[in-house]
Amino acid sequence: DAEPDTPAGRTFAPPSARRLARELGVDVAAVDGSGPGGRVTEADVRAHAEGDAGAADAGGPDDGPEPRPAPTPTDTGSDGRKSAVSKRGADDGSADAPATPA
């Protein structure tokens, strides 16, 4: 699916996701990444470990948890991780259509 093939068996995932994968006994290279370019998040690793590998995919960047904890810590998704940019792309096209040049 969305995950591009990365050469050299390289999986793009932050250290925290890689370590979580080891902790859960998941091969991080087998996880479908939902981040930009197929980057693997901690949520993707968890979803994979729960045998629910599709969940992370199905979501896509828009449906993930907030990119950072919301000001109310209690309803914070603990694994949300998106870059400024993925968020920027995701935000867009929303209610507020950008102006177009003539």
Binding site: P15, S16, R19, P69, P73, T76, D91, P98, P101, A102
Partner: protein
């Protein structure tokens, strides 16, 4: 460009060629838009001509002289002499190269450049008055405009910059002799950068500040380090005092008169008085009302998260659009303005704008402090690494300060950082990326950092927040 009878047209008109305006213009041109940039004075704006760049050049020059003159402890004996005229000449050369570069980059990207002062005639037209006698003016119509007219120093009553001995920051950056005694009104970042510079150049510097400490927005432990070091350099601080007037001293020089809230008066003998109490937006003569735009009570133009003013096709960026009034914020807003105009999904959704103060030592901050994180409803966890435990810091001879990182305890997300110490302005870049990427403490700690570097302190601070620092004791 569509050329009419009297009126020239452009798709995007940018007013002001500071770091907000020239960046907006270049990006708009890169987006394939026909773009015109109007500047009344000098390319690069306040930042390149009388702000960021000249101040940093003098900070380098004065810093090197001071450092070389105080390095006996490491076996380097020197008795440096500063030729202030030469230092200013070097600074001017740097400025010229940069402003020339901005002009070249604009041209190379296909931006049309017009020299003159723009004022709005209507919602889609400006008049540009060319400088100098009989230079005339032209009318320009636009589809989109970006107002990037910047800011100027605030004057206080009784202290006209016109007076030879009353300096604005611009004057302080252009003086070819060092006054024996310099009074500085205002202990904000501009006042403090210049206090440090002039103290190192040998002036007796007295700072007068209305508040009870320097560098108002910063945390106490950050301020303290910079204040104490400045005091070591000979800077005298007078807090809780406002400058009321100046007078001529009987024995030459001037007297700077101050007053506390309780009307207690003091006077300080000085040779120059630098007033650095803040900056105000430049909108006079711009006639924004003709375009249907209002300014707030302080003169700033309000914008939304796509940098648009109340009039949708007119954007405002940089200092004229209000806080944080920093060059890199202006540039970032300029890029967003251009991309929004080009129909791209850009917005001011940056998580954090870093800021630096180039005092001795430097300050670099980004994102939230511990208190701000608490206010925002997080349960913050904080880690620190003092530079006096950093091997690299010791080998540079500069061990003051610390690196601090603030994160959300539950998730580990890095929320911000405060660094005060050597190269803090550079070190904060990594923390900014961490904040922007949604990195966790673990991510920062698990990233291998080169030894020996100051940047290791960021990693150690992250480890300290997790209770497992190696080079500091964990709390």
């Amino acid at each position: 460009m569509v050329v009419g009878d009297v009126t020239t047209g452009t798709e995007v008109l940018v007013i002001g060629a500071g770091p907000g305006g020239y960046v907006a213009a270049i990006r708009a041109a890169q987006e394939g838009l026909d773009t015109t940039l109007v500047e009344k004075d000098a390319y690069g704006g306040a930042c390149l001509n009388r702000g960021c760049i000249p101040s940093k050049a003098l900070i380098t020059g004065s810093g090197l002289a001071h450092e070389a003159g105080n390095a006996e402890f490491m076996g380097v004996h020197a008795d440096p002499a500063v030729d202030m005229g030469k230092m200013i000449e070097w600074k001017d050369g740097v400025v010229d190269r940069l402003t020339g570069g901005v002009e070249k980059l604009c041209k190379a990207n296909g931006v049309n450049l017009i020299e003159g002062t723009a004022s709005f005639v209507g919602e889609d037209t400006v008049r540009v008055a060319h400088g100098g006698d009989g230079q005339g003016s032209e009318t320009l119509s636009f589809e989109h405009a970006v107002v990037a007219t910047g800011s100027r120093p605030i004057q206080i009553p009784g202290f006209e910059f016109a007076e030879d001995h009353v300096w604005s920051s611009a004057d302080a950056l252009d003086a070819d002799t060092v006054p024996d005694r310099l009074g500085i009104v205002g202990g904000g970042y501009i006042g403090m950068e210049l206090a440090t510079t002039y103290a190192k150049l040998g002036a007796d510097v007295t700072v007068v500040e209305m508040l009870d400490d320097i560098l108002d927005p910063y945390e106490d432990d950050v301020k303290r380090i910079v204040r104490e070091r400045a005091a070591e350099l000979g800077v005298e601080f007078n807090f809780g005092e406002g400058a009321s007037e100046w007078s001529e001293a009987p024995d030459g020089g001037y007297l700077l008169h101050t007053e506390t809230e309780d009307s207690e008066e003091s006077t300080y003998g000085v040779d120059k008085i630098l007033v650095a109490v803040g900056r105000q937006p430049v909108t006079d003569g711009l006639d924004v009302a003709n375009a249907g735009i209002e300014t707030d009570d302080r003169g700033f133009i309000e914008t939304d998260d796509r940098t648009r003013t109340a009039v949708e096709h007119i954007h405002a960026v940089g200092d004229v659009a209000g806080d944080p009034m920093l060059a890199h914020a202006a540039s970032n807003e300029g890029i967003v303005a251009a991309e929004v105009i080009a129909g791209e999904p850009a917005a001011l959704d940056r998580q954090a704008v870093p800021a630096a103060v180039f005092t001795d030592p430097e300050i670099g901050t980004v994102g939230m402090t511990e208190a701000e994180a608490e206010d925002a409803g997080f349960d913050p966890v904080v880690g620190e690494m003092p530079f006096n435990a950093s091997g690299r810091a010791m080998t540079t001879g500069h061990t003051e300060g610390f690196a601090r990182i603030v994160a959300d305890e539950e998730t580990g997300f890095v929320l911000g950082g405060q660094i005060v110490g050597p190269e803090a302005s550079e070190l904060i870049a990594e923390v900014a990326l961490a904040v922007e990427m949604g990195a966790t403490l673990e991510d920062v700690a698990a990233t291998v950092h080169t030894h020996p570097t100051l940047a290791e302190a960021v990693m150690e601070a992250a480890e300290n927040a997790r209770g497992q620092a190696i080079h500091t004791l964990n709390r």
